[in-house]
């Protein structure tokens, strides 16, 4: 199985880090993976994309991901300005950080999971220079939606990335999001 995942977020929200942590967790579980940002100039606050490609066996691909089977949205407001379903394969999976209703067209053809990652992050006081950091919570929701790696694997990858309390809090965010994410 080849998982091709596209992350939508805003510059500074940690989409690139989330893609990389997912790959690190997958590699720890014996899979092959690669992650990459959108290749261009990015600005804090502007809509950005990041990508992850994970498979059981090693592959040689380096071309971009244009037809993902999983799309992750870190910020619900991006739905108003970006067509996040663009290229998403039929029966593909959407994972959206939201506390509100999701536009109908995103529900009809796709498996859509929602989680209020912002609430989880706020409750754990995960913020950086005024930004609520939702990327680690979203990782928990992703592995709930699609079993790319185990929830423990994601939590370990988070702990390995940030030592001490920061790592623990972010791992806790992933755990809570894993428990709270629901399919619509």
């Amino acid at each position: 199985m080849l998982y091709e995942i596209r992350f939508h977020g805003r510059g500074g929200q940690g989409a690139v880090t989330a893609a990389e942590l997912l790959v690190k967790a997958a590699v720890c579980e014996g899979k092959w993976g690669q992650s990459f940002p959108f290749f261009g100039a990015e600005r804090r606050g502007a809509p950005v994309t990041a990508f992850a490609r994970i498979s059981e066996e090693k592959h040689f691909l380096h071309s971009p991901i244009t037809e993902p089977n999983i799309v992750v949205v870190l910020d619900r407001k991006i739905l108003d300005i970006v067509d996040v379903k663009s290229g998403l394969k039929e029966n593909g999976t959407l994972v959206i950080n939201s506390s509100k209703n999701i536009p109908k067209e995103l529900l009809q053809n796709f498996r859509t999971y929602v989680v209020d990652a912002t609430k989880i992050a706020v409750s754990l006081e995960l913020s950086f220079t005024g930004w609520v950091i939702v990327n680690t919570a979203m990782l928990g929701a992703i592995v709930k939606a699609v079993p790319i790696v185990t929830p423990e694997g994601i939590m370990n990858a988070i702990r390995n990335n940030w030592a001490g309390k920061v790592g623990e809090l972010n791992a806790e965010a992933a755990k809570r999001a894993y428990e709270e994410a629901t399919i619509l």
Partner: protein, 391 residues
């Protein structure tokens, strides 16, 4: 230990594992992360090196020339316009026979301004007398840079080495990289001690002085011969690397080439997508293969013609442009096959300039178009009604 690393960080780890002694640093997108990471290694005491911040790429290479002349193992990295800006010193480094190693993150030259991948920057400097490698993966970036010091510092060679890695598709892409233990790398690559021509106040001699026409040509012949002789050393070093680290590369990366009738020939990370395309064609019963050239200088002409001797059609995919001449690879491959008894049908493609994507689907199309062109041959029966002929 397997780590998930970008191409840029793989290059930085290679410098760390090679115990480089002098690093000169000037930033340029998409290379900057290499020298940033090395700055971190030096600052945290992981790497005991002199880190020199310079005001331009020209000075970056000038620092390497000075430090390497004094016997230090030196490193710098650059890209695109940075490479061209330092080019005067780049030629000096090879003609002075200094074993400098420099990764080049291959990026398009402007105008129009463009930060994405193309190989024109490094290929323009093919004739500068350096040994040139192009990597396909981050693992290969790391392995090749370490190998490069062994090759460059070998007394039979004493030629600097450039290692090309593609902008973004390698430089900013994270993938699994087996990072070897530093103790095993130190056994493979001992400190630079065998430099026969280094600054030595107790034994003074001149460097780069005026050479009259009576001597100049012989000195150039020695430079040329050293690059030629590097062939043997490149393979020796690769064999030894394989014995210790179980990874082997050679001059050419041959993917499904044994019985291939149609081959895509290219360089860099995009070759991987061509390999995936070849797999698709194989499933459809077409004997497709991919030949990736890893060493561009010295060019593996003999190895190439051996492999192509059984191939019907070859697609050369150039991600570079010499305006007025076309693809640099195509020209080189055609000229290197001139003395071969068998010369396959060759079709050139200029693709992916300025970072335009070349996907697996595109490579499938290139395979198909090449076969189609081969079958048509040089002369085509135009508007022929085959039905009328009964065939």
């Amino acid at each position: 230990m397997i780590q998930v690393l970008t191409g840029n960080h793989s290059a930085a780890y290679a410098a760390l594992l090679s115990d480089v002694e002098v690093v000169s640093a000037y930033p340029i997108t998409p290379q900057t992360q290499i020298v940033e990471k090395i700055a971190e290694f030096v600052e945290t005491g992981k790497l005991k090196a002199k880190y020199v911040r310079v005001e331009s790429e020209h000075s970056a290479m000038a620092v390497c020339v000075g430090a390497s002349s004094a016997g230090a193992r030196t490193f710098t990295a650059t890209s695109s316009h940075g490479l061209l800006h330092m080019s005067e010193m780049v030629y000096w480094a090879s003609a002075a026979r200094l074993p400098i190693v420099m990764p080049v993150v291959c990026r398009t030259l402007g105008p129009p301004w463009n930060i994405w991948n193309e190989h024109t920057d490094m290929l323009l400097l093919r004739d500068f007398g350096w040994i040139q490698f192009f990597a396909e993966s981050n693992q290969e970036v790391l392995d090749t840079i370490i190998q490069a010091y062994r090759i460059a510092e070998d007394e039979r060679v004493l030629i600097p080495v450039m290692v090309g890695l593609d902008a973004f598709t390698l430089s900013h892409t994270s993938e699994p990289v087996d990072v070897p233990e530093i103790e095993s790398v130190r056994k493979f690559l001992p400190p630079r001690t065998n430099a026969p021509y280094v600054f030595d106040p107790s034994n003074p001699f001149t460097f780069g002085n005026l050479a009259y026409p009576s001597h100049h040509m012989e000195i150039k012949y020695m430079h040329h011969k050293a690059v030629e002789d590097a062939r043997k050393v490149i393979l020796e070093v690769d064999d030894e690397w394989n014995k210790i680290f179980c990874r082997k590369y050679g001059f050419l990366d041959k993917f499904m080439c044994e019985d291939a009738k149609v081959i895509i020939l290219t360089i860099g990370s995009s070759a991987g997508d061509a390999k995936e395309a070849a797999k698709v064609l194989r499933k459809a019963g077409i004997a497709a293969g991919v030949l990736r050239i890893r060493v561009i200088n010295p060019f593996p002409s003999k190895e190439l013609s051996n492999i192509l001797s059984n191939v019907e059609a070859v697609a050369v995919v150039d991600r570079n442009l010499s305006p007025g001449n076309g693809g640099i690879l195509l020209e080189k491959i055609k000229s290197s096959l001139y003395s071969s008894k068998y010369r396959p049908f060759i079709k050139g493609y200029l693709a992916g300039l300025g970072g335009r994507d070349i996907t697996v689907k595109d490579y499938i199309k290139i395979f198909e178009k090449t076969l189609e062109a081969y079958k048509k041959g040089e002369t085509e029966w135009f508007n022929l009604n085959l039905e009328m002929t009964g065939s």
